[in-house]
């Protein structure tokens, strides 16, 4: 997963629901120095809550992405993030950085 262009990650999930696995796995996919390069905000819901897990991302170009983690699955989430990140990396290359 290309995490270079993410500036903000905010997740909300109830770990006791099996569907929260996607959000948790997304957190574990961030690199070890992620907290220095981006803002990571995690909120745990109480056990009884049935709220869906949320995953919101912000990119360097200001694009906000609100992903339905439960429906996409971790593969789908990675695909979505990479699709936008590839566009950004191509722009960066074209600008000559």
């Amino acid at each position: 997963m290309i995490t270079k262009f993410i500036t903000e990650v905010s997740t909300t999930f109830n770990p006791f629901l099996p569907r929260a696995k996607t959000a948790r796995l997304f957190l574990s996919f961030l690199p070890p120095n992620a907290r220095q390069t981006m803002k990571v905000d995690t909120k745990l819901l109480p056990r009884a809550s049935r709220d869906p897990s949320l995953l919101q991302l912000k990119f360097k170009d200001g694009k906000q992405m609100k992903l339905d983690a439960e429906k996409l699955g971790i593969k789908g989430v990675v695909e979505e993030v990479d699709r936008h990140s590839r566009i950004l990396s191509r722009q960066e290359e074209l600008n000559g950085n």
Binding site: L17, K21, S28, P32, R35, Q36, T42
Partner: protein, 342 residues
């Protein structure tokens, strides 16, 4: 000294050869030893049955030489022996961050131990026994199922084949070659009992992704509070150590490690708690003794209430009866007055 053996003469050896044609090796004549008569004990009691394997190594259904079988045993034993366990998700922590976190944790726990000793409790160093370890979630889930759901009936496991009192006709439980009657963690019975309950345990959804557990050898909220204030500080109840009191905790490595450590829940005496429940357990003042004191105070309050209630019932009964008596007396007087008139 060389044994005194005589080579048999040709005639004798030919006879021997005729009698026992199967023997191909050379036979030596030996003095016939007289077997001593069996002792009384041997005559009256049969010999004890022989287990085909050591008691510590019963045959197992899962191949014991695999690492995952041994991990399963290790996790099952861990789950049986630790009543208090915190679960953390660790997101790509580096080795030096783990080192820093473990160092800070053990320092804080040592402080708690010292404080307990200073407060007059018997010295009971838990610091060595409380540790963070990263677990393999799938095997841990299997071990959890075995521990929680596989309850073999207490059968006659007391039959010891090495005990001379055990008759040889007795069927020793750990005796079958197929290992059908065994009930240890790696046994077939344990496997079949839990094979079809995949998600039944409440902790099962947590067991995915990178997971680490902090295990305590007994339920000690003080130690838990210290550990929580180090690993996931939350200001009112679990304040982070100040920079002056504990400068090591504010190291860059420890801080960046703690940011990536996420408390998910706890398992306290077989029950599953979420983060709030975990914090509640950690915030019990004075540990188990404190809880007992609270209970005693509550019971005393209840006792006072009970006596009041009982007394009030007695009192009201007294008033009722007294009232009834006066009414009856009045009626009697009236009745006697009427009869007097007539």
């Amino acid at each position: 000294m060389l044994p005194r053996v005589h080579t048999p003469s040709k005639a004798i050896s030919s006879i021997l050869r005729k009698r026992r044609p199967v023997r191909s090796q050379r036979q030596y004549a030996t003095a016939a030893a007289i077997t001593p008569a069996a002792s009384h004990e041997q005559m009256t009691r049969s010999s004890s049955p022989i287990a085909r394997y050591p008691l510590t190594q019963p045959p197992s259904y899962k191949p014991p030489e695999f690492r995952k079988s041994q991990l399963l045993r290790q996790y099952a034993s861990l789950l049986r022996s630790t009543p208090l366990m915190l679960l953390f998700q660790h997101n790509n922590l580096k080795a030096n961050e783990w080192v820093g976190i473990r160092r800070e944790l053990s320092a804080a726990l040592k402080k708690v131990d010292a404080a307990r000793v200073a407060a007059g409790h018997p010295p009971e160093p838990l610091e060595d026994a409380i540790k963070v370890q990263i677990i393999q979630t799938g095997i841990f889930a299997a071990a959890l199922r075995v521990v929680e759901f596989f309850k073999p009936e207490s059968q006659s496991a007391s039959l010891d084949p090495t005990d001379p009192a055990t008759p040889s006709s007795a069927t020793v439980p750990v005796f079958t070659k197929s290992g059908d009657e065994l009930t240890h963690t790696l046994s077939k019975a344990a496997h079949e009992a839990v094979a079809d309950i995949r998600t039944a345990h409440a902790l099962a959804p947590l067991l995915a992704g990178p997971l680490a557990v902090l295990t305590f050898p007994n339920v000690s909220p003080q130690h838990m509070k210290a550990a929580l204030s180090i690993l996931s500080p939350s200001p009112p109840d679990f304040p982070a150590p100040t920079r002056r009191a504990n400068p090591g905790w504010h190291d860059a490595a420890v801080q960046s490690g703690l940011q990536k450590l996420l408390l998910l829940g706890a398992r306290v005496e077989g029950k599953v708690f979420d983060v709030d429940g975990t914090k509640w357990v950690g915030s019990i003042d004075g540990g188990l003794d404190g809880l007992r004191a609270q209970l005693v105070a509550m019971l005393q309050g209840i006792g006072g209430g009970v006596t009041n209630t009982l007394e009030s019932a007695g009192r009201s009964l007294y008033f009722t009866v007294e009232g009834r008596r006066t009414i009856l007396e009045d009626e009697q007087k009236e009745a006697s007055g009427e009869t007097a008139k007539q």
